[in-house]
Symmetry: D2
Subunit: 290 residues, 4 copies
């Protein structure tokens, strides 16, 4: 058994109550296990006194098997400092499920990035409550499950969705303009692992028809917001936002067209941050590492 | 009497029900009165079918006295097409009153622009509910009226404010971080002529302490909004907005510091647009001419 | 022959030496021909004293046949005021040829917008000096001509390109990250009708490898520029630019990835402006109507 | 002697050849000296293999006198790892000299921030080659030295400047739109400690009259750049940049007016970063810590 290969490059995410010396003991631990820290970013939430850290380490030349490393980390650091932590080995692609409805711009943007190897994920399937976007799924050779959702069939549809998510061992879900409210049951199975794109600069214009509301209010800037889905609609932890200017000369249709460009870029950025494990959620807010 | 000098350069603002031929008849009218149009911008609000136009004209060489021009414009155009219109001769400086409380960044920004002749206004006085900023007024040689406002003295204070506004024939008011709600009485005397700066990206975080609310919500972008004051708090027609990015690493104090830079720039831009007569208000929204 | 249908909605673009009364006589002419002006934007270049105007008019109810309208416009206005002008009827789709090499992000972006009817054009074909992107052309059912270009075959390749451009009556060309210099011959056949995307904030970092140059210089902002192609490399009239921030922590690879998102959005915006006839070129600069 | 008070809060800046274990040994060292790291940011320049780190530590409760701490740091870490390092105690205000000419916007912006305690510096004096801005210096009660510069008197003027800089023990210089080239002699006395604001998005439009050049080129975005001054004009390490959009409708005068707002904000941000010791210079580039 070649222990040397067992862990190579890893990303470790930690959060725990803030206390003196944490950075020192953690970096020391890595050092003693022959790891070289190639990136470290840390943050202390001053309000709640919580410490967050993201560490990229290179263990080339180390001979610690992964499990032993994990055990010792848990015993020597996590237990002592009350850490929540996770370790992610480089090269393991997470499985991302896409939920869509009828709009295709976010889907096209994600799939073309996927096709260019910009997103290091597997996409086991696309789920939609409409058949419209199947041709795009076909273009990119990704299975497309049309699961209609009506008031009467909602529970049944969700059961089917959940079944697929489990069968394919999906790691996280991206709602690429999926125009249905995701049920608490699915949310509870994917805490902080469902990424939505909302077509407004939240918290302004939460809910339906944000471009219409923005137009009516006469704002000079519109935006898009990508966030993790929680039970409270449009109120989950924000991952990424961006904005663009509008004028009195723009119609609602113009708002929607300009907004599409925001939505797809903002969603793709959020998905990339999630894939790269650069997001941590705490207190309904995100820490986004650089 | 030298009619030739009576009008030279003017800005005309028009709004009326949209109807075929308005641009043609209006530009024709100017042409026939020996005016040369040097700028024309127009907009039709498709929802309400209202037409807006801003015309800069040069009457050098024309011999129409202002009053005659106005009479004929009213009779031949305004009456016929049901126009609301106003004409502003170049070189006439409007009188701008400043209301402040304790924050000085917007005041400094406006006064230093004023001192550099960037703002073509007269500033007859500064009113404040606190004495703190008097030294800045003194620096710039502008009269400073300290009118304290308490629950009990609010009516009296407003009467004093109104008296000053009338005495000095003030044209418009700028609330440069004035931390008091302006009374309906003053608003009704200055419809669409009171400019406020709100320290959030409205309609998000209306009301007090927007930076605290933005911090709590975990937004990734904060903003500032300049708008005309109406009776409904923070809900008046938006003139100008701008935003800047924030991260989890920024504290509320950082939000406030970054926000100050937004506030002063956004307010100054709005004030400039107002001075240049580039704003028209309709339906609680603004048309901002380029 | 039903004259009423001959022209309905048109866009007229005019430029000529600036002179008093032009707006008036032009709008009058439209009015007399039973046209209703639904949009007018104008600009005077103060340096060269050139007047530019863009007019959208609705001729519903008018009975002038297009040719008669054009003749009279030429005789009564263009000849008298020395106008260069063009008239474009709504609903006529221009033919857009795409030139690509190996990068697919701009191609995907344009084709997905085309597929969503966001771009009102026909795309008769894609030309590439490499075979790599043929599968994408196939995905979208657009003919793909692989025309290799080497030093020895350049002239021959261009002849083939020109032949295709003529055969399909192409109106304008989009270089969607086409990594070859377009020959003067093709440029002279498509003056101000070849749109390029350059991956820097021109005029900074013109030429090859702009991201490498930007990285070396340590800039804090990178950009992309879409411009019309002229014989001088990267020096043609700029249509659209946008930027994004970078930090010391970004590698060249990061610059390139962030840049891709800029490139595709900036190019698509420029293409849209061109299709909507919102661009006029003069003196190696553009007037971009709103 | 109460050693406990000798060092309290410090910022340590380090750069050295990258090597395994540096973060660990450094954080360990702080920990062993009873310091608590409250902020750590690090960067590795992959091209030159140089490691950079910024550490904020709290030594409350520690009993190490500053000199002893410094000695041990030097011996145990700096010598061993070949570190360049500096330590800055919180609360010590650096001395900032201002150089100006005739433009007042940057001066006003810096002085109003200084007056509001936003900039934690002392400003011993303002130097100018013109008398024009003396009234502003007077407004803020700061000594103003008018040192005219002509071709003949340049050497003499610089000698006088240098004398003042030494007499007042100035730490760094801010060129707040100072329209003279600073001599190599002054630069060599203040390496990476002279901050300039250039009124373009460098490296575009280096040299004089950048707004004129930008106007001529027809760019759609203009910018401002703050950088450390080196002997090569406008080519020093960039600290901060920002941009704003322009259109064909903007005149050179408009470019200048819009640019002023950029210049003052960008310069103030750069000055703040410098004061907070968030900048490190290497290879003619900056690392800007968050």
């Amino acid at each position: 058994m070649d222990f040397k290969l067992s862990i190579l490059k890893t990303t470790i995410l930690i959060h725990c109550p803030d206390q003196a010396g944490i950075i020192s003991v953690t970096t020391n631990f890595i050092h003693q296990h022959k790891g070289n820290i190639i990136y470290l970013d840390q943050h202390v939430d001053k309000e709640t006194n919580v410490f967050f850290m993201r560490l990229d380490s290179d263990f080339e030349g180390s001979s610690f098997p992964t499990e032993k490393f994990k055990d010792e980390f848990q015993r020597e650091l996590a237990d002592r400092y009350n850490m929540q932590w996770s370790m992610h080995e480089a090269g393991v692609k997470p499985k991302m499920a896409l939920f869509v409805s009828k709009y295709n711009h976010c889907l096209y943007d994600l799939l073309s990035r996927f096709n260019s190897s910009e997103l290091e994920v597997d996409i086991p399937f696309i789920i939609s409550n409409h058949p419209d976007l199947k041709p795009i799924a076909d273009q990119f050779n990704i299975p497309y499950y049309h699961i209609p959702v009506t008031k009467d069939t909602k529970a049944e549809a969700e059961a089917k969705q959940l079944e697929l998510l489990k069968e394919y061992e999906v790691d996280f879900i991206v709602l690429a303009r999926y125009m249905q409210i995701v049920s608490p049951k699915i949310i509870s199975n994917f805490p902080n692992r469902i990424i939505n794109i909302h077509h407004s600069f939240l918290p302004a214009f939460a809910g339906a028809k944000p471009y219409h509301a923005a137009f009516k209010r006469g704002v000079k800037i519109i935006g898009a917001t990508s966030h993790y889905v929680t039970e409270e609609l449009d109120a989950g932890p924000i991952i990424e936002q961006d904005v663009t200017t509008v004028t009195h000369a723009h119609s609602i249709k113009d708002f929607i067209a300009k907004g599409r460009d925001l939505e797809k870029i903002v969603l793709s950025r959020a998905v990339k941050l999630h894939i790269l494990r650069k997001t941590m959620v705490y207190n309904n807010k995100t820490v986004i590492f650089s």
